[in-house]
Point group: C2
Chain length 318, copies 2
């Protein structure tokens, strides 16, 4: 058992085992973890957080692995958080975690954490933000946050990044539906991966057309890069674009505002979660919740009415 | 201005204009809408709710349109709810709503509602459930709920359906990543759309392989159907499979349990939302929230600490 103050100290020194332990505490929302998060706060906010998102099957994992290898060659100690919000049932991707490049998996300079299940009380974005904070305080820089998918959860998650990369592939994306408004608006850099496949030009035109609809007021023009991640092609160019974009965006008022909004959403999401937990424990003692659900299923009670009754019992001190 | 009791009455008779008005009230969470929802409750639960989900670009809209046309030929008055959770910024799909088949758009027997933005306080699944309830009480049967995407939101939304169809296309899905655990577990029927494209057999094998991992205890074997929605091919077979599946699942304890879980999640999600609203108004008067966010951004305050302070002020009457 590591004492909490010792854990903080060794974590700030970058010790990998303390990092693993700290993340577990934080992920499981244990009291020690929450205390640690508060202690870490002043020591965080220094690392570059790079978000990578895109459609399933776009090759994000390979891209992240190659980027990680690139940063390792520059002697960075890095963190990778791989988030898969769409696996609520099995708690992970089918076939287990994808197989990471061997070199990365055994390199203590690369800390990889997969996050799959989202808690009953919501808040995968919050949990991801907390894990990123731990990695950040432990000196992991950059921290790569990879999300599988293109839904709201992924957008919330990517919002915590300093710079976001949207990964697309030729063929999939010539369908306009695949290029969602949300995903276009969060992309600071676009990558057409698997660019050895046919349809690259079409894809590029589609991205450009959608970007031209976007009224970005800070002057940043999201570059469109082409990679073949499995062969390592285009990775250096991508890393360059990331560095350039990061520098630009740090000074962009639009970007600062985006980060502020992300901080707000995160606060509200933690608040919602904690509120629900406290109230639930009080209003549904024992198996009362299950009884109420049975009544709803039998159509004896209407859910909004049930909620109204509970809400009336909640008082907030001035 | 329609009186609330008149609205209820004409809605229950199936009047299309009342339906539109009721849905607007409910969607905007207006007091009249919430009251209406409670009044509707005993009159709902009769329609078949069919969920349709799958990757972007799988052709769900065309499939839904063809299914709708099929049900119309059987003289059903139907409802369609098209949900796109991944468009939080623009409040809708790029290029506006997709163009529905002309015949459907002008047919009063087809009521189509698009839902795009999700409220700040979450709960797109709840809002969808509420809209479905209105359609259900108004005698729309079946109600087709279509979601764009494969994230957590979509899974939550599809859970409210009596039977769920997962739409895939050849080529996209030979990548195992595209077939997520969550999506496989909610699928009662699988459709390989655009089956005139190469890769159908491979896709079918991939689905079967994943289904064989799934330990479904109720004996239902999800069929895999092939369609070319744009040409109307395979639609009748799909409608038959839906009818057969619906009957089977109504008597499946596994399915009943799933519906119960969905009811539970819905109750908790409404509760979380209402709780947050009530508390937020009390603890952040005026621009207090914005001040707190500024303090967090300046790293003077830590978000979990802020939440702890608020939570301590919340009291629940016994």
């Amino acid at each position: 058992m590591i004492r909490s103050s010792d854990l903080l100290e060794s974590l700030l020194k970058g010790d990998a085992r303390s990092l693993a332990r700290a993340i577990t505490l934080v992920e499981n929302r244990l009291p020690d973890g929450m205390a640690l998060l508060q202690q870490l706060f002043p020591h965080s906010g220094r690392s570059k957080v790079i978000g990578i998102t895109g459609s399933p099957g776009a090759g994000k994992s390979s891209l992240v692995d190659r980027l990680a290898a690139f940063y390792r060659r520059q002697n960075c100690k890095i963190g990778i958080v791989a988030v898969d919000p769409s696996s609520p049932f099995s708690g992970g991707a089918i076939l287990g975690d994808r197989i990471r490049m061997n070199a990365l998996a055994t390199d203590p300079g690369v800390f990889i954490r997969s996050m799959a299940t989202r808690g009953n009380l919501g808040g995968l974005a919050t949990a991801t933000a907390d894990v990123v904070r731990v990695l950040d305080a432990a000196g992991r820089d950059p921290v790569l946050v990879e999300t599988v998918g293109v839904g709201q959860d992924e957008i919330d998650i990517v919002k915590l990044a300093d710079i976001s990369i949207v990964v697309l592939v030729p063929g999939m994306g010539d369908d306009v539906q695949a290029l969602k408004a949300g995903i276009m608006e969060i992309g600071d850099i676009f990558v057409i991966n698997k660019c050895d496949r046919p349809g690259v030009e079409k894809m590029e035109r589609a991205i450009q057309a959608l970007l031209s609809l976007d009224h970005r007021t800070d002057g940043w023009v999201p570059p469109i890069l082409k990679t073949v991640a499995t062969e390592g092609r285009g990775i250096e160019e991508l890393a360059e674009a990331i560095a350039k974009g990061y520098e630009f965006l740090q000074n962009s008022p639009l970007h600062r505002n985006k980060k502020r909004e992300a901080a707000k959403e995160r606060l509200l999401s933690i608040l919602r979660e904690e509120l629900a937990q406290k109230t639930m424990n009080a209003v549904f003692p024992g198996d009362r919740l299950e009884q109420v659900i049975d009544e709803i299923v039998r159509r004896e009670k209407e859910p909004h009415t049930v909620v109204d009754e509970i809400i009336r019992r909640v008082k907030i001190d001035a």
